[in-house]
Structures are given as C-alpha cells and as structure tokens.
Amino acid sequence: MTDPAALKAFRGERPNRETTSFKREMTAVIPHLRAFARGLCGRPDLADDLVQETLLKAWAAQERFEPGTSMRAWTFVILRNAYLTDMRRNRFRGEYDETVAERTLTAPADQEGPLHLSDMHRALMTLPPERREALLLVGAGGFSYEEAADICGCAVGTIKSRVGRARATLSRMIENGEMPRRGKGAETAAHASIMRDLDHVSTGGTLK
C-alpha cells in the first residue's frame, strides 16, 4: 500500500520550502507593484489588473527567480513587459478616468501642499511612457540608476537621460504653471504623446 503523504509529495501537491518562500516574497511586493503600475497606466482598476497578470506570470516563472536577488526588481520587469504588450494592443488608450484618478489622489488635508496630487498625477501622465517609468523607478520607487537600467534593459546613461528629461518637463509644467488642464484635453495630449513614441519605437526607433 502506498503512503498517501509520500504520494502527495511525489505529485508536488505539498508546497515545499522554496515555493513558500517565493510566495511570501512575491506577496510582500504587491503594494510596490500596484504603485508602479498605477504610475504607468494611470487608472487604479487597470493597474490592479496589470498587477494580477504580473503575479500569475511571476508565479509561472518562479523557477527563473534567483533566491537572494531583488523580488521587487524581478517582478517590475515582468510588470513593465506586460504593460508594454498591453499598450501596443491599445488597451490603455483613451481609458484614463479623471473621476477615478481625482478620487484616488486626494491628499490628506495635513499633507496637502501648494501642489495638488491630482495635478502631479496629470503632469506625470503627459510624459512619454519611457521617461515616466524611469522617473517612477528612480524618483518614487527608490531604485538606483543602475537598478532602473537593469529593469528597463537599457544603459545607465539612457536612464539618466530619461529621468533628466522627465524632470525638466515636470519642472517646467509645474513651476511655470503650464499644467495640463483637467478634463479630456490633458489625456488626449498624453495619449497622443504616448502613441507617437510607441509608433517611433515600433518602427525601430529608440527613446532617449
């Protein structure tokens, strides 16, 4: 007679220690994945869909994760690839929802400075995606330029250049009062900019 426990283990039905550890680490970075995704695609609901897609892909690819390396960096790579694929399928085009963003971005009263967070978010969304993600990784996610370059699969100099350009654009918009207006205009401009860049990349160009 076969020992049921041994049979179960043989079938892989009992999670081993590595799998448990992987899952724990993956679970721990979910808030970061949500924050990164929301910065990339703007809408909280679509961002969460993107994170769920990322988690499934990460889980399926867990054997390729090297224990001891950064789970956050590893899953960010998966997330950005999923995002870029979805972008090319136009999933995010024209779906920015001002009302949802506005509700989500209201800062607690004691933290509200002269710059409203929804203004910041709108300004961020007008940036081309490659510059926006570089700024998110370094300026919000706290990655070094080197780590951000690894995540994006590009040179450190490229990341520095993208961050610099993103920063210059935001500074000009915010400090000179050239903020995108609330309403459809800003999103249309943002999407036009994104789609221009994607067309450029898809025809073999690069974004600096």
Binding site: R34, D48, V51, Q52, W59, L117, L124, V138, G139, V163
Partner: protein, 76 residues
Amino acid sequence: MLRGPNEKQGNYTPAMANDNAEEKAPEQMQEVLPRGGKRSKPEWADGLRQLYDNVLDEPLPDSFADLLSKLDDAGQ
C-alpha cells in the same frame, strides 16, 4: 540665490565650484537623486513620492487574496 558661472567676477574654474554648494553648475543642481538624496530637490519631488507611497499604504483589495489562494490550490 544661485549664481551661474557667468555672473561671477574673475575666472571661473571647476575647482572653485567644489568649494561652495551655491556655486554648483545648474545641470548639477538639477540632477534627480535616488530617494534619500540630500541635495536640493524640486518642489514636486515629494509629490511624486507621495503618489507612490499613498498606494503602498492602501489596504490590498480582496481580489489579491483570492488570486493568492488560487495559487495555493494549483499546488505548485
């Protein structure tokens, strides 16, 4: 106030810029540092981080617990 090299009297040398933080070239002042950098940051830098941190502080929607439990069921 910031003074650019051109506004200084006499010859400007890079070595002089290192003596005083106020005399850094504009492009150095504009460099965005990873979190925790101590040099001056634009006023919106905190806003950018706050956008990110606000999401970190949100409770996870139930859909994530559902997804994670399904991974258990898959028995990988």
